[in-house]
């Protein structure tokens, strides 16, 4: 926009490239930083610059880490006999927030999606298999997303893991907390009926 000065216009354009940030949000963020003390903008810029310094993937679980193996794989307090398989590193945060899961993780880095050129070869599936073959793993929780690609990947993992003597589970499907039956979609209701559970006594 020609009436904007270059540094303002440039930051609006850079912010707009981020996912979920449209031109209006980008403008709001830019003008916000203009108003704030220099230190706040610098802290943000530095955090971005430092993001990828010394960052690598854990050679065991392939989560993003600054030391190898990552703190979860190294931890003696975690249950090393359970592996939760997720699609991407950011799927770990919501699971950890629950405080409910004490096992390890395995990050696939994608889902099987031949249309987009992602096959089993591009994912960390071989590595999962070899982790499961060392005898110490008792349960694998497949926590791929409940959508087409996630389900395809889950089916494939079930097939290759079944020959091993391991319990294979998936996260429960059903009505999300706070939802209303009236507005639930057919698929969710189907799964909620199929997976109905007894009241705890």
């Amino acid at each position: 926009m020609s009436f904007l000065i270059e540094p303002v216009d440039r930051l609006i354009r850079e912010f707009s490239k981020l996912p979920g940030i449209g031109p209006k949000s980008a403008q709001r963020l830019t003008y916000y930083l203009l108003k704030e003390p220099d230190e706040e903008a610098s802290a943000l810029a530095e955090a971005i610059q430092n993001l990828k310094k010394d960052i690598r993937l854990c050679s065991i679980c392939f989560n993003i880490t600054d030391r190898d193996p990552c703190s979860i794989c190294q931890s003696k307090e975690r249950d090393h006999s359970t592996i939760c398989v997720v699609e991407k590193p950011s799927d770990i945060a919501p699971l950890e927030r629950t405080g409910k899961y004490k096992g390890l993780y395995h990050v696939l880095h994608g889902t099987i999606n031949p249309a987009q050129g992602t096959t089993t070869e591009n994912l960390k599936i071989k590595e999962l298999l070899s982790r499961c073959q060392n005898g110490s793993v008792k349960e694998v929780i497949i926590a791929t997303n409940p959508n087409m690609e996630g389900e395809t990947t889950s089916l494939y993992l079930q097939r290759i893991l079944t020959p091993l003597d391991i319990t294979i589970t998936h996260l429960a499907r059903g009505l999300p907390f706070g939802s209303e039956l009236e507005y639930a979609d057919d698929m969710t209701l189907n799964q909620a009926i199929e997976g109905r559970q007894k009241f705890k006594q």
Copy 2:
């Protein structure tokens, strides 16, 4: 969050400080940058760092600028007899996007809001008055926001500008484009009825 490595956690915290960005968006943005090539993250960081370099306020209209007077105040193609008064620099972008307005601007840098300690003294009101007193200004469009503080400020400006021989106008009030009468609030409908316009022949 202890399971996150420091640089990731730090950027999530920095993003969370921005307006309209909650912890989940901050996490999504951070993992997005982790996945993207280094150049994209660097471009964003640099744009933030450079934002305030050589930036100042235009000594005439008080818009943010990199040269003084700003490009709008300097432009020979703009109508120098009309001034549109806005609350903040970011209010200029939507007006410029319409391509409809060819006059100059004046940025107040706030609204009269005694509860938050903003009085007429803290705003660029003196400066507006002196621009209007030089004889070349024929119309002042008061484009403060249609809310309590904006209206208070508008009333004050009307009062101090009335003694001068200047046309004082405000942006039209009424039903926004795309809205539905059924859901319009009383105030908007009131103003839409009061300001009803004849069809153009």
